[in-house]
Each structure stands twice: as C-alpha cells, then as structure tokens.
Symmetry: D2
Subunit: 149 residues, 4 copies
C-alpha cells in the first residue's frame, strides 16, 4: 500500500466525515488531514455542555474518536474501513474556551489493529490548553457490506 | 451521610441533568434514578450517527458518562458535586436500533474517588443487545465555585 | 464450534498456564476453569509488593490479564490462540491480604475480538474485598507460528 | 514547591524503588530520574514470560506503572506519596528482545490528580521497538500512615 495517492485519502476522509451526522450536530469541522494525523475543530456552544457549563466529556470523546479514526483512514488501503474497538479518555482540565482543537495521530499502524492517540485543546486568548487525551484501538474492516467508506 | 433523603437525590440528579445542554441536544431522557444506579434512554436519530449510520461512539460515551456520573451523585452528600477524571469505553456491537438504554452503576463508592461501570444496550424487537461498556473514575468535588450542582 | 469437548479446553488452558514463566514467578495457581470463566489465586508474598507493602499493581494486572486471557481460551477453537491487545485496570483498595483471587469472565465473545472483564479480591478473615477490576480486549490469533498454545 | 532540591527527589525515588519487592523480583533497575521523567530497565528472563515466550503483559504493566508513578514522585512535595488509581495499557508488539526500557512521563501535574504516560521499548540490535504504551492516573496522598515514602 505504498505509492498510495495522498490526494485520494484526503478526499476519502472528507467524504466519510461529511456522512457523520454526529459531527454536523456538534458543529465540528475537519481542519487538517495529513498522513497519520487528523485535526477537527469545534466552536463552543451551550448545547455541548455538561451541568457545570463545561464541554461535555462525551462531546470531547466524539471529536477525539473521529480525529483518531480518520487518522487511521489515512494509513489504510482505499477499500478498507475503520471501526473503533475501544478507547480511554482522560479529562485533565475543564472544557472551557471559545474554540476547541482535537488532534488524532497514529502511534502504531497495522494491517488489522491500529493504535491512535488524541489530544484535545481549548483555544482562546493565550496559549492552547490541554484539556483531554485519548488512546484508542481501531480495527481495519474489509469485505463487510455494512461498514464501508 | 446516611439517613439521606432519597427524594432529595432524585431531585438533585434531575435538576443537574436538565442543565446538560448535551443531553438535550442528543434527545436523551433520564428514565431511572435509584441509589447507585441511573438509566438514560435515547431514541435513534440520524443526527447521532458516524459514517456507517451506527450510533457514534461519542454519543454512546456521552450517555454512558452521564449515567455513570449521576449514579455517583446518588451516593455523595448534597453539597458535593462530581467531575469525571477518565473513562474507558469498549464498543462491542454496532449501535443499530430504534432506541438505546444506558445504565450506570457504582462499583466502588468513596469519599474522593468513585468507580462506576456502565452498559449500553440497543433496544428494538427481541432481547436488548449489549453494544458497549464503560468503566469510569469520578472525583467528588467540594468547595469549588465553578463546579456545583 | 459447538460440541467442543469441555475436558479439552480445561486441559489446553492448564497446559498453556504452565508455560507462563510469570505465573510461576508470582506463585499463582489456576484454581477454576469453566466455560467463559477462569480463576487464579495467589498467596501474599513480600516479593510481590510496591513501596507501601501492598500488592503491586503490575502483579494484580498480570494475574487479571492471565485470568481474562484464559477465559477467552475457553471460548475459541482448539487451533486458535489469544493475544491481549489492551486492558484497563482500576485499583480500588490497597492490595492487603493473605491471599488474592482473580476472576476473568467473557463479556463479549467473538471470532476475532473478545472482551473480558476481571475482578480481583483480597481474601482473609471475613468477606472477600474487591481490590481491582479489569476490562481487556483480546484478539483471536490463527496461523501464526510464534503464537500457539 | 519550586526551588525544590533536585538531589532530594532523586534520592526519594531511589529509596522508594528499593522498597518495591516486585521490582527486585523482576530484575528491574532504575536507570534515569529527571523532573517529570523516570526510566526503568529490565533484561529479558524466561521467568517473565507468558505462554508464547514473550514478556508478560503484567510485567510490562508493572514496570510502566512504576516508571509513571515515580515520574509523579518527582513533581510532588517531599511529604506526599503516590497511589495509582487506574491505568490502561496497549500492547503493540510482542515483548521480544534482550532488554526492555520503560519510560514514564508526566502529562498533567496536579495537586491531587496527576496523569502520566508511559512507553515500553524492546532493545537489542538495531533501533528500539515500541512494544506498549500506558496512560495512568495517579493520586497524591498526604497524611495517611499506611502510604508514605
């Protein structure tokens, strides 16, 4: 799977991202797609909060999982797809900010199992603040009608 | 903190749940509040999906985290609050179904750290199907102005 | 894979357990092998401790991982083997006691991915005390020369 | 706690490490102690293996947990101690090699909760090979008689 067309993986990631109802609901945008690295951004919105007014851990998880999953898409062959098997999220600071950045990167590629790590940052005035991290395990899926693209 | 008024914790959980913008956005309902156990339900909606049309892992995480967090609320004193430190989610079957049930239960109560386990089920015709599990670590917060209720 | 000879899986688990240098080093014994459930026991020993004299988290993890992994062996075909992809351990009470019991159970069987949950208990006078839990993801391995038995 | 004597934290970590029965049992050595970073090394030994002859996941966890925990010691005040609340380990390649290096680093310091990340490498001829990663949550303990040093 070397000599893969990089333009192609960007296009496949974008097309797949646009099919995620959840990303549209959150107001998330795909802002960077590189080999083994994807970034998603999200403006703060009151509808995304938990009871103290911080970004809900589930919203953070959704964006990190998508960033990690699409980072995995960039290292697989075009006919394959990705399903998340499991992930762990550590919430390190309250999700307060005007805007949030979620970066997913591949730590260990593989033909069946891919391990990705993600980091979430709150962005406002001043330096970005690390608010959460994820480690996720993804499975490469081939030949399943219900899991394509 | 024994002799706590159980009516009170149900009321506190409900009031806090109603403040979660994210739960309203997902269409989630609080359907059961018992000591050390909370259930949340969610009808399927296309806006909650990932790219294959299944319930997004982040949506599953959001509902499981809220169920586990509110289960923790039922075992703390009324002045305290709860923040999730971290959780792990295992996605066991694709999130397909008409309706989903998320149950959070306390595995280990504590004055500072509470461990909760959650299970997510797809509900339709036939028996409920286990689609995901969570183990989460919650911290009991006292005396912080920005973390109340 | 129904109609599997249950005597056979017990024998395979025992044979594989006996090959684990680490279980011998810890003084661990295989005390129960049922379909989808395995128990391992361990007497306390000063050589198994961390700096406060409690059972080391790594020792707890080793025994829980073996219990979960062998629980997975009981639900696969005899030619396959198991590798742990990842696990999470929550340490709920200090590992103090005369003896420890580690139980692994299958939560979700599968042809490629198996999810297992484990619980660790300290045993002495009085009721067993829950000291830790594990959720682990195992992969079923076939046709690899270096991963058999 | 700025202006802390760095000689002091190195001494405290070393003294605490020497109290770990489990590290002696594994043949582990403390090879590097820097602010927020600790390394532990381990020669391969047949007694440390699982059934396929690879380093047991529990041994990897033990060394990573100690490396992460001692990295936390370097950022707390001398009277405090550390207990691991939970960790997740991803096993990325079989633990084959002559020697193994385990590095723990602090990702998020804190007065109560510290998050650390660890990486395990197999070392032999050629470049080091990443075999596992850990994310762990540690709790800073003060004023408990049974948890000192």
């Amino acid at each position: 799977m070397n000599g893969r067309d990089t333009g192609d993986f960007r296009e496949r990631v974008r097309r797949s991202f646009d099919k995620q109802g959840a990303m549209a609901m959150l107001g998330a945008e795909l802002t960077r797609v590189e080999p083994a690295l994807v970034e998603i951004e999200l403006p703060f919105d009151q509808k995304l909060t938990q009871q103290h007014g911080f970004l809900h851990a589930g919203v953070i998880s959704a964006a990190l999982d998508s960033a990690c999953g699409y980072a995995a898409y960039t290292v697989i062959d075009p006919e394959a797809s990705i399903l998340t098997i499991e992930f762990k999220v550590n919430l390190m600071s309250p999700g307060r900010g005007e805007r949030f950045l979620f970066r997913g990167e591949i730590t260990k590629p593989g033909s069946t199992i891919i391990v990705a790590d993600g980091r979430a940052y709150a962005i406002g005035d001043g330096p970005a603040k690390l608010i959460a991290s994820m480690t996720g395990t993804m499975m490469v899926i081939r030949g399943r009608q219900d899991v394509t693209g």
